[in-house]
Amino acid sequence: MRGENLEARISTHQTILLLIVTVLGTAILLLPELIIHNARQDAWLSVILLMFFGLFNAGIYYLLTKQMGNKDLITFTRLVFGRVLTFVVMTILLIYFVFINGTIVREVAEVMKGIYLPRTPLWFFNCTIVLTAVILVSYGLEVIARSLEMTFYLFLISFLLTVLMLSKDLSFAALQPILGNGLAPVVKGLYPGTLFFSELFMILIFAPQITKKNKIPKILTGAVIVIGVVLTIVVCLAVMIFGPNLAANLTFPLLSAHRYVQAFGIIERLDPLFIFYWIGGGIFKVTIFLYAIVYLMKNFFELANYHVFIPIVGVGIIYISLYYFDNVVEVALFIEQSVPYFLAVQLLYPALLLLVSKLRGINCS
């Protein structure tokens, strides 16, 4: 809208928050269940291993951003792979982004519909979520970053308040025995987490717009550490309250923990806080992914602004989120089955790009 001709600039602090919310937006609710299911009481070890995986990813992305310099992802791909292959890559990226965004919208909506507002139709949630994201994206990246700056700490406070309220019910005995079943379940618990941690590849989209490019390693490590710590807290919370066996059978351990809270003798459950950061985080995640795809398309077609693409992609996302899945089980199955495909885009594509650009000696910085 305003200032569309100016290149957006985001600060280091804002980029860290954007990356955190990209990963944690949905991971905070979905990932603990997936990890605890396999790793049981050693889930926190899985999370720590995942952090190392995240750092490894971050290394690749950092090297790639160094190669990219001021070029954005799709222009750089065109330089490295040539025009024809870039067209293929762009198509794959479009499909990837529409599908992953549709899945996120559906997840957020299903939790709301399934648990809080069962009589509200699903399309209402899907449409309002996508509409909010569309409005945020049309304001531009700077506004997205600044709104996140305003709301992120509210999300964090809501989360930490719950943790604080629960702290009297935690039992450390539930975390023992450590590595009781060997390392195998811990590694098995890693697998779904790789999907979320490689979502850090959003840094490749933000990179040309960061004011201080030499801070990118700091941004990536900061984001990985915050994500890891929050996930560790969530996983430990679930295991220490419900015990490993019960926690493994809960669909949403964090949500159950919220409903377990009793505070100040007047509040029986802290669900509103959960709704606040779940919906808020979810919408920001959808916003960031929507921004990423329209930004890439803008650069692919070499246009001045991306507002043309927002309604097109938005309708696609609503369509996928409403009609591609029949119910929650299918969503969960889809996520589980599509991990390798998502990883191919999030990890393999940047790695290949880095490798080929190194081999061909293309360096834009």
Binding site: S11, M112, Y116, L136, S147, E149, M150, P272, I275, I283
Partner: protein
């Protein structure tokens, strides 16, 4: 041949030039002609007075003159004592030399004992001066007029500010006269870097607009932008400072004001000293300050006159009042209609048993009560003061009580509605209060549709809107987003003046240092008091 054509061309051009020049009419040296032209201009205007006078000296030489003014705009005492008396009294050593054909206008104007006298030659300027409250003296044989500034109309004196009242601090308020307002500010900033530039806007109102700032402190680009926007105003009339505010604002469609309006000179000068620019509008008792940040809606001038610990508490209370006044009805609706599970069972029981028999949904009840409250507010503000108490008694006490006992409104809805209404008055800014009405409505609608989910969506949209606003290039939510840690010193807390060393970073001032106090030894022992100084 060629030369003749060239001459002919230059003649034509000269003619054109002269025609253009003659469009700006000037006074001629014949009094009758001047007077006739002015009378034609002031056709059908009865309150312009033409006073014919004859200047004489001892030798009975005389000179015709005419004094033109609008009696309701000028001070008649000055006309009598300082203009007519010295001009009409013949003096013994008269050096007017009235016999000479060439009259020196300076010698005549030297006799007038008024401080502000200017010599003008254009008729248009003369007319504007008369309409602005000057007197115009036309003298026979002189092709210029003397414009004498003798404005003196009825106006109120400097009074206490009505809206922004404080317990401590100065209690002067701006008034309708722009010169007095400027004087109030000048008295607080005694520096020659304090610059003022005047614009006259409005074809009919000829309103003066003054832009004031401190050169070397305020950002050059912001000053330039404000002057550009004021200069670009094209209007027939300027009604008040609000009119100017909306004409030069960044976001005229936003419900939030991005220019601060104050009626206190101390607030205006504090803003200027922080590196802001202020815009004064003649005829309006409030002054505009730009750029403005969102947090200033929650700041009262009192914060700077109180102890800083108390300021912290007061600002927190104001912030809570702000949150309560926009969110409480929405939260109440979402808790009772959508998320009953978070309240204890006994509380839910009490509320619902009290609500038994109430026919409306909670959301409708809250909207009706909100409108009712706004109605009372509006009524009390408009009706004569003597009737105010009867409206409050009938409206608030009898109606409210009867509505509950008749079972139309739930007692708890009345409590929530009243709490919201009271917390509104915690906020110092009236304009901001009116903005909150809209926000409250949005939140109530969001909550009525889908409980906490709707509230969250509205929160995100409102924050996105707030964050997208800019006031003359400065982000509206500035110290919070984008985060500027040094500016948090005057955000929720006001740190002691001793360590408030820099001006706000977000205003991008040219001189960043506000003060540079050397650490002084702040205590000394008792013997230092008793010992004699050597």
């Amino acid at each position: 041949m060629w030369k003749e054509v060239k001459d002919w061309f230059t003649d034509i051009l000269k003619c054109n030039c002269q025609a253009k020049l003659s469009r700006k009419e000037t006074f001629t040296d014949k009094l009758n002609q001047n007077q006739k032209r002015l009378k034609l201009k002031f056709d059908n205007i009865e309150d312009v007075k033409f006073r014919n006078i004859t200047l004489t000296d001892e030798a009975n030489n005389y000179l015709e003159a005419v004094l033109i003014y609008i009696p309701s705009l000028v001070d008649k005492g000055i006309i009598n004592d300082n203009i007519l008396t010295p001009l009409l009294t013949p003096q013994s050593e008269d050096k007017l030399g009235l016999l000479e054909e060439e009259k020196n206008i300076k010698e005549i104007s030297n006799k007038i004992n008024v401080e502000d006298i200017t010599e003008i030659c254009e008729i248009e300027t003369g007319i504007n001066d008369i309409l602005a409250g000057n007197a115009l003296l036309l003298i026979n044989h002189i092709s210029c007029a003397v414009s004498i500034s003798i404005q003196g109309w009825q106006e109120r004196s400097v009074e206490r500010p009505i809206i922004e009242r404080t317990v401590r601090g100065p209690s002067e308020g701006f008034m309708e006269n722009i010169e007095v307002n400027l004087g109030l500010m000048r008295r607080r900033i005694k520096n020659n870097d304090f610059k003022i530039e005047t614009f006259t806007k409005g074809k009919y109102t000829q309103t003066q607009i003054k832009v004031a700032y401190i050169k070397g402190v305020a950002n050059k680009k912001i000053v330039k932008e404000i002057k550009k926007r004021v200069q670009s105003i094209q209007t027939g009339q300027i009604i008040g400072s609000r009119h100017v505010l909306e004409l030069i604002e960044d976001n005229p469609l936003s419900p939030f004001d991005t220019i601060y309006e104050t009626e206190r000179p101390d607030v205006a000068t504090a803003g200027i000293l922080e590196g802001r620019v202020s815009v004064l509008v003649d005829g309006s008792p409030s002054v505009l300050i730009a750029p403005m940040l969102f947090m200033e809606n929650l700041v009262s001038p009192e914060d700077y006159y109180n102890n800083f610990y108390y300021t912290f508490v007061a600002r927190i209370i104001r912030f809570l009042g702000f949150l309560v006044s926009i969110l409480l009805p929405a939260l109440y609706i979402s808790f009772l209609a959508f998320h009953q599970e978070i309240l204890p069972l006994t509380l839910v029981n009490t509320i619902y048993s009290a609500r038994e028999g109430v026919p409306f949904p909670i959301a409708i009840e809250m909207i009706v009560f909100g409108l009712f409250f706004e109605g009372i507010k509006e009524a009390v503000a408009r009706i004569p003061q003597a009737l105010g108490s009867s409206v409050t008694i009938v409206g608030a006490l009898i109606l409210g009580d009867a509505a509950i006992s008749a079972g139309v409104l739930g007692a708890d809805s009345v409590i929530i509605g009243s709490l919201t209404g009271i917390s509104m008055f915690v906020l110092p800014s009236v304009e901001f209060n009116n903005t909150l009405l809209l926000l409250r409505g949005l939140f109530v609608i969001g909550a009525a549709i889908s409980g906490f989910y709707g509230i969250t969506i509205v929160v995100l949209l409102v924050i996105a809107h707030l964050v997208s606003l800019r006031s003359f290039g400065v982000p509206y939510m500035s110290p919070a987003a984008p985060l500027q840690i040094t500016d948090l010193k005057d955000f929720f807390i006001r740190v002691p003046y001793l360590i408030m060393k820099t001006r706000p970073q977000s205003l991008e001032t040219e001189n960043k240092v506000r003060q540079d106090n050397y650490p002084v030894k702040r205590y000394f022992f008792k013997y230092e008091l008793t010992e004699n100084e050597e």
